[in-house]
Amino acid sequence: MTGAPASHAVTLVATFAVFASCAVLAVVLVLTKVGREGRRRRQAALVAPLRPHLIAVSAGEDDGTARAVLAAADGPSRHAVTRAITDLLGKVRGLPAEELVEVLDRHGSLESAMADLRHASAVRRAQAAQLLGVSRVPDAVDALVAALDDKAAEVRASAAYALGLIGDPRAAAPLLRAVGAPDAGLPAGLAADALLGMGVGISGALGDALADPDPRTRTVAAHLCGVGSFSRALPCLRERLALDPDLTVRETCAQALGNIGRADDVEVLARHTRASHPLPLRRVCAEALGALGEDAAVPTLAALLHDPDPRLAELAATSLVRLGPCGRAALDAAAHERPVQSALTVAALQGVLR
């Protein structure tokens, strides 16, 4: 008889606890938002008298007067101006950006940022890395490379972003290594974006990274070889496609060969569409044959239209569409196959077919 009331009481307490937790969470969220808005308003109020000067410099319409006024800002205003300039540096380039950096330099903000890379607060370290990046300070490269080993993930990410903006290819190898660093990795997409900003000078580092022990590093390197058209890596990409123990690396190499491969690579990719290879790799190779754009791929792709895996057959059909008239002729011969019909419907919807 006492079981039911006790259970009822437990339910009530649990319900109350859930509502109380929700209420506390809501209060915390509101307070955080109010605090952030308050800081934003204080920052705006501090910058307001100097805003016309900031806009004049950012628009490239300053004869030196506005920079002098901004450089003379003192106390909390100086800090607020530094933050406003950091924001603006993400929006303008060219002479205005150089002049904004000049103001930061006259404030001593760049020197402080170099020191702040070793600050106890991870937030300060991340902000320092960001400031050095948007200011494109070449002397900060070594310190930012060291920050790639920071224990805080946000600092590592900020350092990678900054190195991408500075664009010094000397940072390529450490960035690639950081992707696969044990217990302190860097998101692959972030590293790839940063590396793309460094131009052709990263070619050597990419070649080395394709042989790195960590598969994440090899994957990023293979991806960049494809999107950045690093054709010197073609032999290595072919070798990794054939022999790498990691399937993702092999798939990425196949995609890269589809992007930048030569006519000879039709045979290389075709070989990896055979049933003896893992299905995900066969699918990627079928897509890559379409991207490669060589008519010599038609017989391989036409044979795949009858594969037991409908997705692979559909991808082969899509690749044949991409190959143009020669591929379309092969599709016409298999027009009754469902994957072919599906691929043609998608292509029509995408406006590829007329």
Partner: protein, 130 residues
Amino acid sequence: MEVSTPEGTRVLVADDDADIRELVEFKLSQAGYAVQAVPDGLAAWEAFESNPPHLAVLDVMMPGLSGFDVLRKIRESDHPRVPVLMLSAKSRDSDVDTGFAIGADDYVIKPFSPRELLHRVNTMLSRTRA
């Protein structure tokens, strides 16, 4: 080489980022253009409808109507030939392709050079006048 910028040439600028809005307005005003700057797509479309400008500079990602939405409306309006320059942080080839496919006359990627933006505006308007 400076391109003449006749008084009274109206340019509509739409961007939800106050920094960008103000600096583009300042740059173009300094060059002699009459600039109307608005903070979102809907305000841009209303401004266009009430007083069609000679040229529009549109951000892509704005609250309410996007820059692409406004561009579509402009091309379907009674003043479809008004030159439109897209100014956006969306930098992928597919974004640029979309902008031109909808009917943009030019596409500038942020971060941008205000000086280059002014040159492009001057050039687009001088072509219109030719």
